[in-house]
Symmetry: C2
Subunit: 152 residues, 2 copies
């Protein structure tokens, strides 16, 4: 309960930069995607997870855990994906409360269409500014920060 609980200057600087820079870089990537008429990154990410999950699909709460999003965010994200035809949603047979989500072929098409633009954006706004070692270190640092306890 003493000041040992407070972050020191180094931690404050590091934190402030993480917040600003990651948000700024992310915004740049989103702009590149939008300029080409593509949906936001979150949709791409969700579709990626669903493609990865294969035939058995994913439950919305599993998607939520993977994406570290709030429950209502996933609910609405999935709504949009279903409405756009990129995802199939049907009731779970094991769990009466739940659903199962699967990517459609149209969803797969979107992933393929977006990747050239998205990959280029990652390259331009992110990868090109870091050495291979930096990139690996950053991945490691993020893994340490990830305690997999999504908000709410």
């Amino acid at each position: 309960m003493i000041k040992s609980e407070m972050p020191d200057d180094e931690a404050q600087t590091s934190w402030a930069r993480l917040v600003r820079v990651s948000q700024s870089v992310l915004a740049s990537v989103e702009v590149d995607l939008r300029r080409e008429g593509f949906p936001p990154l979150a949709q791409y990410d969700a579709l990626l997870e669903l493609r990865r999950a294969g035939d058995k699909g994913l439950r919305p709460f599993e998607l939520r855990q993977e994406m570290l999003l709030a429950q209502y965010s996933v609910s609405r994200l999935v709504d949009r994906l279903v409405k756009a035809g990129f995802v199939d949603r049907h009731d779970s047979e094991d769990d009466g409360r739940g659903q199962v989500l699967k990517i459609t072929s149209s969803g797969r098409d979107l992933l393929e269409a977006m990747w050239p633009i998205y990959g280029k954006a990652i390259q331009n706004h992110f990868a090109v500014k870091l050495s291979p070692t930096d990139i690996r270190n950053l991945a490691h640092l993020m893994a340490q920060l990830d305690t997999r306890q999504p908000v709410k």
Copy 2:
């Protein structure tokens, strides 16, 4: 124009983690602040910059450059701060198009009231998960990513 422009697997992983984890950690911190009835982090950040700027204040576009935000985001952020009485806004004498922003004493009070909660949140969701070396490395990596070319 060949595939050298595309990020490799390491870069993709690193990027994906950066996006998800930084957003997730940030959300956790925001939740802590809201739970105590405080305004969002962006307001705190803006006030910090204005306090740092001292008596001469800051122009909105300078604030924008510091915070790496879009222009309209700053415009509205400042609106809220002014309306809440945390910031004074008056026309610039040098530049007829512009304004000068200064933190009020009420704004300073907010910073002081928020810091115990905010600092603790940074500590709990961020600093505690990283070693001092990690923290320094992360700060350095973020500085490399920061080319200070705000979106739009």
